[in-house]
Subunit: 436 residues, 2 copies
Amino acid sequence: MKPVKIGLMGLGTVGGGTATVLQRNADEITRRCGRSLQIVHAASLEIAGQKLLDPARVKLTENAWDVVNNPDVEIVVELIGGYTLARELVLKAIENGKHVVTANKALIAIHGDEIFKAAQAKGVIVAFEAAVAGGVPIIKAIREGLAANRIQWVAGIINGTGNFILTEMREKGRDFYDVLKEAQALGYAEADPTFDVEGIDAAHKLTILASVAFGIPLQFKKTFTEGISKIAREDVTYAEQLGYRIKHLGIARRTERGIEMRVHPTLIPERRLIANVNGVMNAVLVKSDAVGPTLYYGPGAGSEPTASAVIADLIDVARAMDADVSHRVAMLGFQPNAMSDVPVLSHDEFETACYLRMLAEDKPGVLADVTRIFADKHISIEAVIQKEPQEGQTRVQLILLTSKVLEKQMNAAIAAVEKLDAIEGKVTRIRMEHLG
Amino acid sequence: MKPVKIGLMGLGTVGGGTATVLQRNADEITRRCGRSLQIVHAASLEIAGQKLLDPARVKLTENAWDVVNNPDVEIVVELIGGYTLARELVLKAIENGKHVVTANKALIAIHGDEIFKAAQAKGVIVAFEAAVAGGVPIIKAIREGLAANRIQWVAGIINGTGNFILTEMREKGRDFYDVLKEAQALGYAEADPTFDVEGIDAAHKLTILASVAFGIPLQFKKTFTEGISKIAREDVTYAEQLGYRIKHLGIARRTERGIEMRVHPTLIPERRLIANVNGVMNAVLVKSDAVGPTLYYGPGAGSEPTASAVIADLIDVARAMDADVSHRVAMLGFQPNAMSDVPVLSHDEFETACYLRMLAEDKPGVLADVTRIFADKHISIEAVIQKEPQEGQTRVQLILLTSKVLEKQMNAAIAAVEKLDAIEGKVTRIRMEHLG
């Protein structure tokens, strides 16, 4: 069969990896795919990236519009990032009747509905495996591998930078900012780490996971996001003493009242396999009604791991592009006319157990005052731990583990506790999930 | 679109689960698939199984031949097991132009080449996701999700019974036969446990994994198989003291000399995620050149978990059955004309590090005699541990960890060590893998 003609936009980390792997594994890819994948046009502002390709065989340009407007190109690969120019380029490629493969989670999470609608109208495919968990084929697993199931929830470690920081904090007793600086030096974290450590990147990915798991539109704005920068070293230690690990999880859960979509630090039992996913690695745990729990683990970022997912999509698109739509997997896993309008719950409707830590005066009656507040709000306390005051201190760390409670009830209880004279400063709240 | 008409052979554990999930999740499946999956004919000798289906809507029979010969049936699901009658039924279904979905690992591992050849000639699909690791979509992950990669090796915990036994031995310090009896009582192990504990079941699955990973024919007979029944409680303990866990792994590795295919107890570093896969759960770790390590985890057996994989296949087949072959995923992941004839290595060509345990007289010179044998055969010893003799004993446990060595060299060294007067009985050998 004829080679598939590919236009590549972006030859940075992921684009460079894609060019490299496509060339190095050309034989293996053709053995699998039945036809070869050929980059015919590539746009990059970077000379280093351009040098990966043979100018005798690939048209090189600095202008991405040349690629989306090249009539020879059948599949456009968008690896430039951002969601302004990328959106325009992708929409133009679709308008030009080209299929699109992208690794751009922000683009899909924010403009996905518009993009899929345009693609559907034009009869082209938009594939985005690389947008979530890098090289882990999690979109395919949920969309196809678990297609028999009613999925109940998805919980993922989907930001490698955050997981690296939490792992170092636990294994070496280090502080958040200390590890962050190292992560920046190692290139795991950006100079502005907000996207990673405040959970925005994870929220983009979770938005996509929720859509393919439940067949709902992409609703990034409704995702609750809390970062890890407030996690103290002692929280990591106390969690460990209680048999838990703290992970920055993205969680999407189907409840009777609607869908929960939330990214936050989470205490999870150390015996769970996902609690043992360390360093920059990603993992997604999916709970489904028929199969039960399944977990998918691997590198969530990096040049060739992400390229692996991009190329898997290219192979899928190459196979399906000339077939009728009925022979293709639905882009979001569900038929466009079968999407669900089940609501995403507002943040105060979430229900979780909580770990609470507060600094309390070391005197009689404080614990009674605190626990009375929870009792009045019908919140069960599962455990109370009081840490001995350090030498010369008159305050003790008080740790409470609560049963599952609605977020708004917990907000009210925390506000009341913080008003007590015997409690100093803010209460640290970390949500808990048993993932059972 | 019209419903897809399915003929189900077998309504036991997996067949019953398939009927149950197809009915319970009919809406969710149609939302994804775009058409409904309808059981129109089912064969079972079991009344309990037949009762799962509505006789007003499904033809019920005790004769599986009725199903494969029913002209209305488009996809035949083979869930009767064994590889004599099952082979004949599957070949007949193919001859009748029907697509086939099966959970039968023995059938695919032993008669796969014949079956795929017949299917290819007839233009029908044979799908077998449920044959390996139950509900874990590992075939899809390797065949499609990792299609950009040159896969280097696959290592899997692919028999839940064996993993349950080894987990219990480690966590509770129990003996093999003690746990086996419990596993039989719990229904995790058969009355004749040979298939599970001697690694035959795992070897069937490994044979299939090797084919989809490397694009080689199915070569069950060439798979090396060693069971776990000789693992002593002290091996589990000593391994743990050295920072390892013992897992019954199926390993397929591409080497410069050919493919290694082997199932045996294996010491693996306890820090590896797969070392923490416990109980009856399965996991497959895949090492590939672009993405690096990825791992897939979930229930490897059971009614609805296996049904989940069967139905995922049904959805894939429903989508692809009316499409041209070029729009379908190659059944073994590689185009039939691109299969590789790279040889499977004979057993004495394997290369692994080893844990060796022997009972030695507690006197000077024994260690020197033992280590001299290894030195003469150019085998490096990485560690030697001598366990203090128990009270009243004159013999000590001697444990050696070796570097990587060819199996035939190690066989010769072990034979020589066993001939030493100071060594009593057999040397226990457990292979080691770092899985890095």
